[in-house]
């Protein structure tokens, strides 16, 4: 086995936490049960990794197998990457999309290989209708860099693709082109949506985040469900602004619904608006040029945080539509200009 491949194996296996080692190796399914049993998993990680690499060498593992292991590791640790969302579109009046996964894969690979001689493309099918693509980029003269790959997750017959933000931004147009052509679309556009939580991004663009529906079969009527604030818990406590509290709860529930919010870490607003002031004078009031500033909201779970602002008394209800439109519009990057 090539030294570079061997080193790639070593570094990939070293990344895997000990608690997940067995699970990931079994998912990879390259080393059999019997072979794994010959390894002592209780030794120190360094020596364990050495043993595993030796075992891979004995089984003539190739770069392709290593790339597959890398994909599996990334699938288990998808939160370590930041994902962008791309939206593709077809021309009007297109034929029914008879998506053939094998055709897609070979077409995608061909397009990349034609443009860049040195590129490693690997695929792994996931769920029923999705594919994870790993691309290691090289140049005309350099071999692909296996340590900075790009990942693409694509669900067949949908217009959306999720890509891990690559440090190599120059390859993005080529990646977009390959995706568009292979999936038989015409155009591709980058959405203003970014997060570490791939499943939340999927829920937002596939509109799967609100899955509560009123039916005759539901046992809990929607009105009776507690809205979080049990106002009548203790009869010795009188709430002075009970009506206002209930109004805030109602408005919050109308906007955010009863379902768990998709998880995003931030919302960013780039403002290019003229300064508006209530005061008459002031230096900035007469400024013709727009004022440029960036407002960024960060949170471990931004939408749940926004949902709790009004009930906590920190903000007025209803919140600004700029904040509440995030899942509906599928955006968390905004550019605001004067109309």
């Amino acid at each position: 086995m090539d030294e570079t491949v061997s080193e790639f194996f070593r570094r990939t296996i070293l990344k895997i936490p000990m608690t997940e080692m067995m699970t990931i190796l079994k998912t990879w399914n390259f080393l059999s049960e019997n072979q794994l049993q010959t390894i002592n998993f209780r030794q120190r990680k360094d020596s364990l990794v050495q043993d595993l690499v030796l075992l891979c060498e004995e089984n003539r593992a190739s770069l392709k197998d290593a790339a597959l292991l890398d994909i599996i590791y990334t699938q288990f640790h998808r939160h370590q990457k930041v994902w962008d969302v791309f939206q593709m579109s077809k021309g009007p009046g297109e034929d029914i999309d008879l998506f053939d996964m094998e055709q897609f894969k070979s077409s995608f690979k061909k397009i990349l290989k034609r443009a860049l001689k040195n590129v490693t493309v690997s695929f792994r099918d996931a769920e029923e209708n999705a594919v994870w693509i790993r691309i290691a980029w090289g140049t005309q003269y350099r071999k692909p860099n296996q340590y900075k790959p790009s990942y693409v997750v694509y669900y067949s017959q949908t217009p959306y693709a999720f890509t891990s933000s690559s440090q190599l931004k120059s390859n993005l147009p080529l990646l977009g082109q390959a995706l568009t052509i292979a999936s038989k679309h015409h155009q591709i556009v980058k959405m203003d949506l970014r997060s570490r939580y791939l499943d939340s991004l999927k829920a937002i663009v596939f509109k799967q985040y609100n899955q509560t529906f009123e039916t005759h079969n539901s046992t809990t009527p929607l009105q009776e469900r507690s809205l979080g604030l049990d106002i009548n818990m203790d009869s010795r406590i009188i709430h002075e602004n009970k009506i206002e509290k209930e109004r805030v709860q109602r408005v919050t529930q109308e906007i955010f619904g009863d379902y768990p919010q998709p998880r995003l870490e931030f919302a960013q607003y780039k403002l290019e608006t003229k300064f508006k002031s209530d005061l008459n004078g002031g230096i900035l009031a007469e400024r013709e040029e727009p004022l440029r500033c960036l407002v960024k909201f960060s949170s471990p779970h931004l939408l749940e945080a926004l949902k709790s602002l009004a009930p906590a008394g920190i903000a007025d209800a209803p919140l600004s539509p700029l904040l509440t439109c995030i899942p509906n519009k599928g955006m968390n990057y905004f550019k605001i200009r004067d109309k």
Binding site: F99, E128, N129, Y155, Q157, N210, H216
Partner: protein, 300 residues
């Protein structure tokens, strides 16, 4: 007295006689007392006797009163019961009617399209089924404003919902729902066939089943007899019409290099025809049953 006086002349004999007389007097009074005692005890007895009679009388009187009261209560309840049961049956009738209606509303989902009124409009539930098997249900929550709009839904992203709603939602909601129902039922049916092939007939497949989100392109390599010596065929099924559960294009090819014998060619053509006309899993069921027949012939 005179006796006492004459006796007092003789001092000693006086004492004796007087004392004797006194003794006799006390005896007499004692006897009298004894005679009186039974009388008094009798009196006591009779007093107690009358008391007992009195108490018995009182007891009987109270018993009679209790019985009377009970009889009165019974009489009163028997008088009241007819009214109360009337009320109960009215209530019960209404309750049963309400439960009946609720059950009918719940059962409506088996018709395929059912809905519930919401504060905004209506939440429609589209239930899918294939060959008598109930499959997934999908929801569309509609806002009934002047142009009706979809508030939110659970339709998979690869179903052309935007197209269908652009065509029909504003003009003819019925047509919109029926078209959506068609697409969803067909998708569910195709998915059901692909799932059945993967799970129940894995022994017949020589490789993984290739499918896509809409299950409108299926590609697989199979053997008509799993353990037999038959050659694997490659099948490619295309469903160009998204409202149907049977393919529009079928190609069955032979993988090997040497030419097909006539029997094999006939088999290939027959298989192609089968895939056109029968649902996928039924085709494989017929392969399986044919296999059983072959085994039978070998045994006999």
């Amino acid at each position: 007295m005179e006796l006492a006086n004459t006796l007092s002349q003789d001092g000693e004999s006086r004492g004796g006689v007087l004392a004797h007389l006194e003794r006799l007097e006390t005896q007499v009074s004692r006897c009298r007392k004894k005679l009186e005692e039974p009388q008094s005890t009798q009196a006591v007895e009779s007093a107690l006797g009358t008391r007992i009679h009195e108490l018995r009388r009182l007891r009987d009187k109270l018993r009679a009163e209790v019985k009377q009261h009970q009889a009165r209560v019974k009489a009163s309840t028997t008088n009241v019961e007819p009214d109360q049961t009337l009320e109960i049956t009215e209530q019960e009738i209404l309750k049963r009617k309400r439960e009946n209606v609720k059950a009918i509303l719940q059962a409506y989902r088996f018709t395929g399209i059912s809905g519930k009124l919401t504060s905004r409009g209506v939440c429609v539930c589209i239930g899918t089924a294939f060959e008598g098997n109930l499959l997934d249900s999908y929801f569309v929550d509609l806002v009934m404003q002047k142009p009706p709009q979809i508030h939110h839904h659970s339709i998979p992203v690869f179903i052309p919902l935007e197209e269908i709603s652009a065509k029909y939602l504003q003009t003819n909601i019925q047509h919109f729902l029926f078209t959506l129902c068609e697409y969803l039922n067909a998708y569910s049916g195709r998915k059901y066939q692909a799932d059945r092939l993967q799970s129940d007939f894995a022994a017949f497949l020589a490789g993984p089943l290739q499918r896509n989100s809409l299950c409108n392109l299926l590609s697989f390599t199979y053997k008509a007899e799993p353990e037999g010596q038959s050659f694997p065929f490659c099948a490619r099924l295309l469903y160009r019409d998204l409202t149907t559960t049977l393919p529009t294009d079928v190609t069955v090819t032979y993988q090997g290099t040497d030419a097909l014998s006539t029997t094999r060619e006939e088999q290939r053509a027959a298989h192609e025809n089968l895939f056109f006309t029968k649902p996928l899993h039924q085709v494989f069921t017929s392969f399986a049953s044919k296999g059983d027949k072959l085994d039978m012939s070998l045994v006999s």
